[in-house]
């Protein structure tokens, strides 16, 4: 059983404001039976002052869900809508003296229900973010925007943390890679924004009359606990500081196989034997993931910078085969630090 704070237990065993609120003029309902938790938040808001006069809830869920719902109602009563809108899932958790990391999604659900209720009061059609963006976690119906917001609001950096806050990726785990992509995107954007702000500030202080030069993209730190197939290693390798203009170059120019493109420094002193062994090991690591999807990849030969592989199983004829090949290519380049071209060939090509 989970370790709950005294306050969580108090709000679970003696929830405040549980039940139906007759005359509610703002109702927000989120969650579903299939997810194992759902919350219906009912508010009575003064139409003139826009102050929340009453709040009640109905919750289907675990101890944390019920306690979070109770806490939410206590938090919003007496607040203006704008104040209520500013509440985050972290505020709910803090009010309760914290929640186990695995149960943070209960506070996220409370935050969503509040946004839904406010939209209902405003006469807006609140569309669950689950319905608007691409579905990432099919097990729990969590989409990209929900994940993205959880990452931003809570400074999450690992797939496991995302799972604790949103439940995404805690089922069949096939969406791990997509979650990693979102983590990377948010981290990159945050780093860029931070760097831009710092540069703008520095320029303003030093030379307020001139326009600041484009800042260099901040490196993205490798994330612990990464289970990503290709991205982790590739990103780790590509996280070295790059010239600022690199991020605005045409895509063709930034191709790792292009002679003009910046590459990681070649591994010094690598013999052919070492190189081939490294290629073999890298491909062997990747095969585990390909097999999981019913495919496979076998190393056929190494000819200079050309690595010949044979794709089999589900990889044959797969629309994503080219993505797989370029993924292998990126991974090999990251490992070897030299340009590599991966060429799919028949099994008996050599």
């Amino acid at each position: 059983m989970w370790e709950y704070s005294d306050k969580v237990q108090e709000h679970f065993f003696n929830p405040k404001n549980a039940g139906v609120l007759d005359g509610a003029n703002a109702v927000g309902q989120v969650g579903a039976l299939s997810c194992g938790d759902a919350l219906k938040l009912m508010l009575h808001i003064d139409p003139v002052t826009e102050i929340v006069l009453e709040a009640k809830f109905q919750t289907y869920g675990c101890g944390s869900s019920i306690a979070s719902s109770s806490a939410l109602t206590e938090l919003v009563i007496g607040k203006t809508l704008e104040q209520a809108r500013a509440l985050t899932n972290r505020d709910i958790a803090d009010f309760l003296g914290g929640l186990p990391p695995e149960k943070m999604h209960c506070a996220v659900m409370g935050h969503e229900a509040l946004q839904a209720a406010i939209a209902d009061f405003r006469g807006e059609v609140w569309r669950s973010e689950h319905e608007e963006a691409a579905l990432v976690c099919k097990c729990h119906g969590v989409d990209a925007r929900v994940i993205e917001r959880a990452i931003r609001d809570n400074a999450l950096s690992t797939v496991e943390q995302v799972g604790a806050f949103t439940m995404a990726g805690t089922g069949c785990t096939t969406c791990y890679e997509q979650i990693e992509d979102i983590l990377l995107r948010v981290a990159t954007e945050a780093a860029a924004a931070s760097a831009a702000a710092a540069a703008a500030h520095a320029t303003e202080v030093a030379r307020p009359e001139t326009v600041a030069a484009a800042p260099a993209a901040a490196p993205v730190a490798p994330r612990p606990g990464s289970l990503n197939l290709f991205s982790a290693a590739v990103r780790a390798a590509s996280s070295a500081p790059a010239p600022a203009k690199a991020i605005v170059r045409p895509a063709t120019e930034s191709s790792p196989l292009s002679p003009a493109s910046p590459l990681p420094p070649p591994s010094a002193g690598m013999t052919n034997l070492k190189k081939i062994r490294l290629i073999e090991e890298t491909i062997e690591d990747l095969r585990v993931y390909l097999r999981k999807d019913g495919g496979d990849c076998e190393l056929i030969d190494v000819d200079g910078s050309n690595v010949l592989v044979s794709l089999t199983g589900a990889c044959v004829g797969c629309q994503m085969a080219s993505v797989t090949v370029s993924g292998i290519q990126e991974r090999l380049m990251a490992k070897l630090g030299v340009p590599i071209r991966v060429i799919p060939v028949g099994r008996n090509a050599h």
Binding site: M1, F12, Q58, T59, C62, G63, R291
Partner: protein
């Protein structure tokens, strides 16, 4: 207020007689069973006696068919990995979707790493194996079939003796994870086609950290842990003597209490189940009504979540479980209930009550007194209950 323990499928209280049997082997009889001198010899004799106690419980032909391990998980791992190694021309495994994680995790790992192809056989609504799918999966490529004797969450019993016969027709080894069955239901391996069987001490009032793998004489076996010549070189490592003695005593007691398990304990379980179904609407009992462990009932309460029920029960001094102890830290609904296609409204509301010979009639009274109010309170709080109540007002409890 006396605390009531109804989570015996997770672990059982070590019987005081078991503890008494173990204690001298920490102090007085501390010798290494492998030593040639008198200190070791007397311990070696006691270990042999304990092995025979376990042999009796399992109805095994020879005491040396018992290999001591650290518990059920090691036994399960040893059985499957041994079979793959012993039959190198075969690389397929047949198992079910409702096995314990000790089997499922290993099989998934073997599949992921390309070491084996695994057939995960499904179950029906009562948790019984899809026999047609099982037959279809069997072939001369199968190295081992591993099917549990009794399910830890629902208590559903698989007809393992018959399933083993089918496996034998294809030359596959047959292993059963009998961790939940041993001590609760009669077992006789002497004339069965079962090659290997896993058991765990703490599930039958023995100590934790000790288990055994039965390997039928003549069945091919490769050790998981290699080292010294302990366990006839089938499991290296100095014997955990006090635990082995404790397991032997627990086996002896289990044999003595078998009738009680099938009689008084089963009656307690049935009385609780019947009362709950009568007093709480919209309940589903998960599991096979006819072929089920005598001590286990798994009841799903629609439109409430099991953890909320358990927290209330715990505050009232009653310990139960939402599933297997190994997975109760997870937020995912039980893989067993998902495989059984339990209705969505009930999937998250399953509570397992598992009895033992330590339980008394008063324990059942306490649960019956507390549970209806808890479920009612939580349902009143549920946004789905009012609508569901209207629709199902006339519904009767059902048995999955």
């Amino acid at each position: 207020m006396k605390a009531i323990y109804l989570d015996n499928n997770a672990t059982t209280r070590t019987d005081p007689a078991v503890v008494d049997a173990m204690l001298p082997f920490f102090t007085e009889h501390f010798g290494n069973a492998s030593s040639a001198h008198s200190f070791g010899a007397e311990v070696g004799t006691a270990v042999k006696a304990a092995r025979q106690q376990l042999q009796q419980l399992l109805g095994a032909t020879h005491d040396h068919e018992i290999i001591y391990t650290s518990g059920g998980t090691e036994s399960d791992n040893a059985a499957i990995l041994s079979a793959l190694e012993a039959l190198p021309d075969r690389n397929e495994i047949v198992t079910s979707k409702v096995e314990h994680p000790a089997i499922l995790s290993l099989c998934e790992h073997l599949e992921k790493t390309g070491r084996a192809k695994v057939h995960f056989i499904g179950v029906d609504g009562s948790g019984q194996l899809d026999i047609d799918a099982y037959r279809a999966a069997l072939s001369d490529k199968v190295a081992v079939v591993s099917l549990m004797w009794a399910n830890n969450e629902t208590g559903t019993i698989f007809p393992v003796e018959g399933l083993a016969e089918l496996a034998k027709e294809h030359g596959a080894l047959f292993h059963t994870d009998a961790v939940q069955a041993v001590g609760k239901t009669p077992i006789s391996l002497k004339d069965s086609a079962i090659d290997m069987l896993s058991l765990s001490g703490h599930k039958l009032h023995g100590p934790k950290g000790i288990g055994a793998l039965y390997v039928k004489k003549g069945a091919r076996f490769k050790p998981l842990i290699r080292g010294g010549h302990q366990e006839r070189a089938r499991r290296g490592g100095t014997e955990n003597v006090p635990a082995i003695i404790g397991l032997g005593k627990a086996a002896e007691l289990a044999l003595q209490h078998m009738a009680e398990e099938q009689g008084r304990v089963k009656e307690l379980r049935d009385r609780l189940e019947k009362a709950v179904l009568q007093r709480v609407p919209n309940c589903i009992v998960n599991g096979d009504r006819h072929d089920r462990l005598p001590n286990t009932t798994n009841i799903a309460f629609e439109y409430v979540e099991s953890e909320a029920i358990l927290l209330h029960l715990n505050r009232g001094g009653v310990a139960a479980s939402s599933g297997s102890a190994c997975t109760s830290g997870s937020m995912e609904p039980s893989h067993v209930l998902k495989a059984m296609a339990i209705p969505e409204a009930a999937l998250h509301g399953a509570v397992r009550f598992s009895f033992s010979r330590d339980n008394a009639s008063e324990d059942v009274d306490r649960v019956i007194e507390a549970l209806p109010g808890i479920v009612e309170k939580l349902r009143e709080m549920s946004p789905f209950w009012a609508d569901a109540e209207k629709k199902t007002n006339d519904s009767k409890p059902v048995f999955a």
